[in-house]
Amino acid sequence: MTVTDTARESVESMLETKRTESHLNPPPSYDLADHPAPTGREEIWRFTPLKRLRGILDGEASEAKLTWETSLPEGVTLTEISAAEAAEIGELAPNDRPSALAVANAGGALLLDVPADLELDEPVWLRLHGDSVDDLVWGHLVIRIGRFSKATVVLEHTGSARYSATTSVLVGDGANANVLTLQDWDDDAVHLGRDAILVGRDASVRHTAISFGGDLVRMHANVEYAGPGGQAELLGLYFADEGQHIEHRIFADHNEPRTKSNVIYKGALQGQGAHTVWIGNVLIRKVAEGIETYEENRNLVLTEGCHADSVPNLEIETGEIEGAGHASATARFDDEQLFYLQARGISEAESRRLVVHGFFNDLIRKVGVPELEEKLMATVEEELSKNVLRPAEDAS
């Protein structure tokens, strides 16, 4: 199904470059002066239709909140803290204007605390609901996963709002964290989210971003390491419909030796004006010897009139790495696949359905939240029924 396929890139040719500062992401800062209002030409904004942010970047103060419905397993706490306390705890400072505005305007943060050595066998579930796109909501969250603990945290977004949030996930040494953020908004919502993850020594983290709903969704998933031996798996699944803009920006900053990152994002697009953006930035710093990184983005274009941007970026400052590679492919339905299935009696619509489910299946299985697997399959099904399954070509 390949239209363009950037195969695993040989790294050798890039080793000569010596850079000290990453050009991929602006340096983090709380100071709004460091994050001026964008014109739209900036590297980090050039894919985003700024008008459709509906004034979020102006940064007006607002008292509006999302409704939180939480289920916290025993031992897990959710408490209000001040912005100053969030910084003291060691959250990762904002790295773009919306996240800096969120910290400045949210009037304090929430701290989700999973104590050290606690192994949860059920997920922490945070259900966030917005009432109306007229509400401008600022969010500021710190998730602290104590050392040697094991936890799954699900953040589910529904309803509508203009929502800008900054979230830090601080994963203690040796801990095992699985964080999932689900954007299941109504059609008119606007969501700018920055998730930044700090991976402790020998800790492992899986972060999954799933975006289906909303008019404009732009999510960052950033990862950096607090010590050697950390592993991060960044997964993403998105489905853009008519007119939707869904953007995912990944930044894996290998700032410690023997760290790993593995990034897989898959998306489907359907309907006029559906637009997805995937930016996969990986920086391997000079100190980061013996690291491994692989990133992959695949897009399946289901109808005419859609556009998928996919930009992998690998910036390498050391020659002593174990492995680095990336792949990016955007393809239409493969006629040969459809023919093969139809030649077995399966209708055209059903064949398309099988191919799309197949495209997402392995990723859905990787998410590791059994409670969500079925829901995700159902959501894919629902998305398909809007378009791919609609033509009445289902014979018999």
Partner: protein, 253 residues
């Protein structure tokens, strides 16, 4: 009863320099219960014939007819042809990532029968079909054709043939790329299929060796998009000895 009748079939493909005619008037009838072998050199149009019968969108029929028990096959969509009782075992089976063999087989069976198979029988049938073709029981969990060896792909095609049990099977070079053990296993599968009442087989092959295991009623020699010669099984022996040369020189003169 099942009869596949192909009359004066002309087929072309689109190329950069306009349409190119590949089948130049093929006439062939597979009567009730018969097995016909089509033999011919590479590029003679054998796969084109197979794909055209199955309805691949790449090929345009510019003339002639194909009927199955009198019904106009060319008027049917690809899936309708399969549901009408045609099966194509492909020369190059296609990978479908993320779709498991067991899901694929169940979906196909449901489509062909118009209802879901009874679960208990179905599981048994699938296990037997896989076992008969020497495919591991865990095969069902793998993605369709993804990472299969060449032999596994071909044996999987024949497992499908047995499970879907069509009226007419078109086998496009199912024998090529198989070692002798796999060739026997595959041939046994085809023979089980055609041992049933009224099943037709169109066996496309480049080599004669599969005909030692599957004896055809008729052999057709295919050259340059047409049938150049036909006869009984003895024609295959003659081709084995003499090759296609005499037909090829005839066409280039």
């Amino acid at each position: 009863m099942s009869t596949l009748e192909i009359k004066d079939l002309h087929v072309s493909v689109k190329t950069e320099d306009g349409p190119k005619e590949i089948l130049k008037g093929v006439t062939l009838t597979i009567a009730d219960g018969e097995t016909h072998a089509i033999m011919g050199p590479n590029g003679s149009g054998k796969s084109t014939l197979a794909y055209s019968i199955a309805g691949h969108p790449k090929y345009t029929v510019t003339g002639g007819t194909v009927t199955l028990d009198g019904d106009d096959v060319l008027a049917m969509s690809v899936d309708e042809r399969a549901r009408a009782g045609l099966f194509l075992a492909m020369q190059y089976p296609v990978e479908v990532p993320g779709v498991s063999v067991s899901n694929f087989l169940r979906t196909a069976k449901t489509a062909i029968d118009g209802e879901a198979p009874k679960l208990r029988h179905w599981v048994k049938d699938v296990n037997k079909a896989l076992q008969d073709l020497n495919l591991d029981p865990t095969f069902g969990q793998r993605s369709v054709n993804e990472g299969f060896s060449g032999g596994e792909k071909k044996r999987h095609e024949i497992a499908q043939l047995e499970l879907l049990n069509p009226k007419i099977a078109v086998l496009d070079e199912t024998d090529s790329g198989l070692d002798i053990d796999a060739l026997k296993i595959v041939s046994e599968g085809v023979n089980r299929f055609r041992a049933q009442e009224g099943k037709g087989v169109l066996l496309i092959t480049h080599y004669t060796r599969i005909l030692r295991y599957i004896t055809p009623d008729q052999v057709h020699v295919f050259v340059d998009g047409k049938i150049a010669d036909q006869g009984g099984p003895e024609l295959a022996d003659q081709l084995e000895a003499e090759g296609y040369d005499k037909y090829l020189t005839k066409t280039t003169v």
